[in-house]
């Protein structure tokens, strides 16, 4: 705390000095905690990760992270750019498999199943752990086909009316039904950015996943569209387990029950969202949430 205060003083008197010193001071003056501070584990975890190390080629992106994600909770992963939060998120449904140089170590459990078990069907895993990306990425197909894509793949509907039902339900859950019900046959790419992102959420919940991973879902959207997505996350919590990576601390505070703070590949602090934002225990967490870097 004291170091952070000093840092703050220098910063106020001399902005240029602050710019120059900041990265060093961040790394050197505030030591990392021995173990993650707060409550990284929970009693009834949906997913539990232990000793996670991730490497891109020779450089290590994540160092020994232990974290549980509770059943039907919304957990926010926050931290400065390049801290490994997106990398960590992408490990949870093995999207990192598509990157050749990425190596993942540690144990990842989805309830009783080991995610990185070679015998595990990654296709089935991704049906259970859905993902929403930073930029809305609807397929260049109709709105209906976008939502029906997953159910068709997994044979969730045998008849046309069953599929119609799944599409309608998913769009309703994503709060998009009323806006698009008259133009389901029009291309999904023709929607506005916020609508596209809600379409992507509808698309991922159409396969009834247990966990939904969201990688900065609002970073490409305007404030009104963002508010709608946040509302939607709020409504979905309780039915789905949601892990959301965000750069907006207000967003983390609004939508999540627990917050995990990552710093340069290390998980510094995990606590109830309220605690993290009102009484952070570690100096790095405090420095970040008070906006001193990030």
């Amino acid at each position: 705390m004291e170091t952070a205060q000093k840092l703050n003083d220098t910063a106020q008197t001399n902005p240029a000095a602050r710019m120059a010193q900041e990265p060093e001071t961040m790394n050197q003056r505030i030591p990392y905690p021995e173990r993650t501070i707060g409550k990284p584990l929970c009693d009834d975890p949906k997913m539990s990760m232990r000793n996670v190390d991730v490497f891109y080629g020779d450089s290590q992106a994540i160092y020994g992270v232990d974290l549980d994600i509770g059943k039907n909770e919304v957990i926010a992963l926050i931290g400065p750019s390049g801290c490994g939060k997106s990398t960590f998120l992408r490990c949870l449904n093995r999207m990192n498999d598509t990157i050749d140089i990425c190596k993942v170590k540690g144990s990842f459990m989805l309830e009783q199943d080991n995610i990185y078990d070679p015998k595990l069907d990654v296709v089935e895993l991704r049906a259970r752990v859905g993902m929403v990306f930073q930029k809305p990425n609807p397929f260049p197909k109709s709105i209906y086909e976008n939502v029906a894509y997953g159910p068709r793949l997994h044979g969730l509907a045998n008849k046309k009316f069953e599929l119609d039902e799944i599409v309608e339900n998913s769009l309703r859950k994503a709060g998009l039904w009323d806006e698009v019900k008259d133009r389901l046959d029009q291309p999904g790419t023709g929607l506005s950015g916020g609508q596209q992102q809600r379409l992507c959420i509808a698309r991922s919940i159409a396969v009834s996943p247990e966990v939904v991973l969201m990688d900065e879902p609002c970073s490409a959207l305007d404030p009104i569209a963002t508010a709608k997505i946040e509302e939607l996350i709020d409504e979905l919590s309780g039915q789905y387990t949601i892990a959301i990576v965000t750069h907006s601390m207000q967003q983390a505070a609004r939508v999540s029950q627990r917050t995990a703070y990552f710093h340069l590949g290390r998980l510094i602090e995990v606590n109830d969202t309220n605690t993290v934002f009102t009484a952070p225990e570690h100096a790095l967490t405090e420095a970040y949430i008070t906006g001193r870097f990030g």
Binding site: G130, F133, T189
Partner: protein
Amino acid sequence: MQAGNLVLLLIALGAVFYFFGWRRSYAVSAPLGGVRHLHSLPGYYASLAAVWCVLPALALLGLWLIIDDTVIRTNLMASLPSAIQPANEVDYNLLLNQIRNVAGGALNPAFVPAEVVAAAEQLAAMQARNQQMMSIAFVSIAVLGGVWGWSRVQPRLRARQQVESVMKWMLMGSATVAILTTLGIVLSVLFESIRFFQKVSPMEFLFGLQWSPQIALRADQVGATGAFGAVPLFAGTLLISFIAMCVAVPVGLMSAIYLAEYAHRNVRAWAKPILEILAGVPTVVYGFFAALTVAPAIRGFGESMGLTVASESALAAGLVMGIMIIPFISSLADDVITAVPRAMRDGSLALGATQSETIKRVVIPAALPGIMGGILLAVSRAIGETMIVVMAAGLAANLTANPLEAVTTITVQIVTLLVGDQEFDSAKTLAAFALGLMLFIVTLGLNVIALKIVKKYREQYE
């Protein structure tokens, strides 16, 4: 001096004025305290001086070369004694050629009247004087221009902007040359075709089923009345192009998918260039490959199956042409497949699709317009391809859909119509231009459609 030597001299003069311009820009900047007080860098002043030297002189040379022949000819013919004044245009040209040939030493003066020899001597003298005057005018314009450009070097001169606009005009000029050339070719083909259609009706040409472009050279010649129905040629062209596309589209597309989606980076690094080497093989090499290797192999195989196969078959030409076209399709398809954003693939994979499902349901549909554009470009290439079909497809204009028979194509017929000694006003020769026009219209149409499709596709993600 010859025009070529004059241009060489001009380059040297330009270099000299570049140097002087450079020197002068330093000289005028010295009292101001260095080149940074000039409006532009010394290189721009120097370039401007060189430009003033070179461009006006080149313009003069061009104009001179365009008009000098006409001027000399008119003067010469007007000065001829009335005894040999030509009566009509044919005589005029004949006489002119005689005079020229005598002057050029190609015709022995002993064989022509004395007036013609005199005229030839006069022509030689006029040409020599013309050369002389041209050289003097050229060099003086170059030097004057250079001096003018050199004298304009002043600190306030906006040389940088002026060089910029000269560059712009030069680039525009190059583009204009390309466009005008295209226009010229199209118009000449068009006019010759119109002459053809005055002899043979367009209906007969477009819908006639008989192609036999032999015209009687003598009035009493038997069995050579000529038939200009181009349908067998269109059919042959389409048949061979169809066979070629049947080979090229599946192979090209699948190799593109493999290279873009599955191949490891290292494999891609050497496989893609090798595939593109196929596009660099000269078509004449494909041609003899088709004629000497593939066609006999197909005939041998066909005979062993009890089929009659012509030794020059549409199948052989089509297969080899298909191989030639593979790289066009694969590299275009590879480009559009790689252009499908990674986010699309991620979105599909994250929904639990396998890689092949992702390719089938998301990547290919998204890339389809671009792939179609590539295929259309390949079709227009196949229709216009000449060398392979000349060597492997044969000359017989059969109207058939059987790929084992010999057929002929538009391009092959154009070649055979124009090879050898021809009269350029017979329907036989002019037919080549009409065929060329058809070919041009079809390939232009295909290219326009293909480019439209590709462009529309590009806008989708941007």
